[in-house]
């Protein structure tokens, strides 16, 4: 009986607040994820380059940062950064959207740490013989990287990067702790109005699932295509 009531409630709530779910929530989640993945990839690529470089002090620094990020909970990092960043950069306090800035920064840094590992392992998975052959012909390290190693590494990297995107979509829900307006935040908003948790959570769960399911199927198609061209 309870289930039936719940489904009814789900319907009612969705009809009433669909714009909060789909327009505000989904848009914010996707925007936040896209931004995180984009900048996370850019910064992650830079970190990966440092990791495979021969500049030891920089390497240690990056490795330390990456290990700290990977070894502590994301939620904790979000808390720390929202308190710590305004202390380090006092000018932040005057900004209206300092919270979202701090959170974006943390999400991006977190994603960059994982992406740097994806890219590093993608590059290192390319057969060493490829590099040796290029270098034996007199090509320098940079040309070898651009012409031979990276094009092959991309094939290892892209699928894993797609999975990172899915992970990020789910992780943005942690940002709801700080009411930044993404899908999970809408739960807090709507529950304040309806005082009925479960139906809202179910709706949000379905939306997350559909988002990620569609995305992972798209990635699957993309991956198969890439293999066909290899």
């Amino acid at each position: 009986m309870y289930l039936i009531t719940m489904f009814e409630d789900m319907g009612k709530i969705f009809v009433k607040y669909w714009d909060l779910f789909l327009i505000k929530g989904v848009t914010a989640t996707i925007l936040l994820s896209l931004m995180t993945v984009f900048f996370g990839t850019v910064i992650g690529a830079l970190l990966a380059l440092v990791k495979i470089s021969k500049i030891k002090p920089l390497k240690w620094l990056v490795n330390a940062i990456v290990e700290i990020i990977r070894g502590t909970p994301m939620l904790l990092q979000l808390y720390i950064s929202t308190f710590l960043i305004p202390v380090i950069i006092p000018a932040m306090n005057e900004l209206e959207n300092k919270k979202i800035l701090c959170i974006s920064f943390t999400l991006i840094l977190n994603s960059a740490a994982y992406v740097s590992e994806i890219i590093r392992s993608g590059i290192e998975a390319v057969d060493k013989g490829q590099t040796e052959a290029a270098r034996s012909l007199g090509l320098n390290g940079t040309t070898t990287m651009i012409q031979v190693v990276l094009p092959q590494a991309v094939k290892n990297i892209l699928p894993a990067l797609g999975n990172e995107f899915i992970t990020v979509i789910k992780e943005t829900s942690l940002a709801s702790t700080f009411y930044v307006g993404e899908l999970m935040t809408q739960y807090h908003v709507i529950v304040g109005k309806t005082h009925n948790s479960l139906p809202i959570l179910m709706i949000i769960g379905i939306i997350y699932f559909v988002l990620n399911f569609v995305l992972s199927k798209l990635l699957g198609v993309f991956e198969r295509r890439m293999k066909a061209h290899a």
């Binding site: 057969d127 013989g129 490829q130 270098r135 034996s136 012909l137 007199g138 090509l139 012409q147 094009p151």
Partner: protein, 312 residues
């Protein structure tokens, strides 16, 4: 042409090469044979610095490819503080140099400890003789056991990549258009592919080729740089037996044209037929060297006799 001086190579605690010296003359075909683990591939890879020798120097056409090895230059040793200390203790010049060499007394890692003069002497030799390794490698082709064709590039691109990336700039500076340069290198590549009968594979990707085809293309890719010397690292070891012949034929053709070649090989027939000189390596040193006739018909080193007994 190629002068290998007293090469040592350690991988951690593992000593792979323990003092290898040899000179390779222009037009000479040298085969390096020996059991696996004897250091023959490492020696070859030290020649173009795919492995950096732990000690020793490699010279090509009077140019130094490796860092300076102080032990090969008495004037460097004599500029060191260690030498001065021994001299001050009353040791003769020759004895002091010999003692430093024998007991490895120069501390390379802390060359600052050997004083300014020592470093200046090292730098002088380096600056006068050193050549950028990328430039040097453009004159040394290398063929690998595992072919190592670029998987992301077509056969034609495999052959033209290095010439395009290293020589095109200069040609464009000289007033040629980009298109002309590209056509020039494509034409040359096609001529090379034609020579091995694979011009119809120009647009194919390596994954679609047989091992023999891949290796012939790998040889052509190296030749496209017009190298002065070709290094072969067991070029037929990863091939199916029926494909060994086609690769060896290409190599024999090269030898006939007078290419300087150094081949690490298990093909004793090839070594006997084509090589001018055969080096037998055992436990990191050249245990015996000589003409194919001397090596195969009259081996002296007991390990060589044993080795030939196994492979022939």
């Amino acid at each position: 042409m190629l002068d290998v001086k007293n090469i040592y190579k350690n991988f951690g605690d593992l000593k792979v090469l323990e003092g290898v010296s040899t000179q390779i003359a222009e037009g000479e075909v040298v085969a390096i044979i020996g059991a696996s683990g004897s250091g023959k591939s490492t020696l070859l890879r030290c020649m173009n610095l795919l492995e950096t020798p732990t000690f020793g120097e490699v010279w090509m056409d009077g140019k130094l490819l490796t860092p300076v090895d102080p032990y090969l230059h008495p004037e460097v040793i004599m500029a060191s503080k260690t030498y001065k200390k021994l001299s001050a203790a009353g040791m003769s010049s020759e004895d002091a140099v010999a003692k430093i060499k024998a007991e490895d007394l120069i501390n390379e890692k802390f060359s600052a400890a050997e004083g300014k003069e020592y470093r200046a002497e090292m730098k002088k030799i380096y600056d006068e003789n050193h050549i950028d390794i990328n430039l040097a490698r453009q004159n040394m082709g290398m063929v690998f056991q595992q072919f190592n064709l670029f998987n992301n590039k077509s056969v034609l691109e495999n052959v033209t990549l290095a010439p395009m990336k290293t020589r095109a700039k200069q040609m464009i500076k000289e007033g040629k258009s980009k298109k002309e340069v590209k056509e020039y290198f494509n034409g040359k590549a096609m001529a090379l592919l034609n020579r091995i009968g694979l011009e119809d594979k120009a647009n194919a990707y390596p994954s679609t080729l047989s091992g023999g085809q891949k290796q012939r293309i790998a040889i052509v890719r190296a030749l496209a740089m017009e190298p002065k010397v070709m290094l072969f690292d067991e070029p037929t070891s990863a091939l199916d037996p029926e494909m060994v012949g086609e690769v060896l034929d290409v190599m024999k053709g090269l030898a006939k044209e007078g290419m300087t070649m150094i081949c690490v090989t298990h093909e004793m027939g090839f070594a006997r037929e084509v090589a001018d000189r055969v080096l037998f390596m055992h436990e990191g040193v050249i245990a015996e060297s000589g003409t194919p006739d001397e090596i195969f018909n009259n081996p002296k080193h007991p390990k060589l006799q044993q080795f030939l007994g196994c492979v022939l």
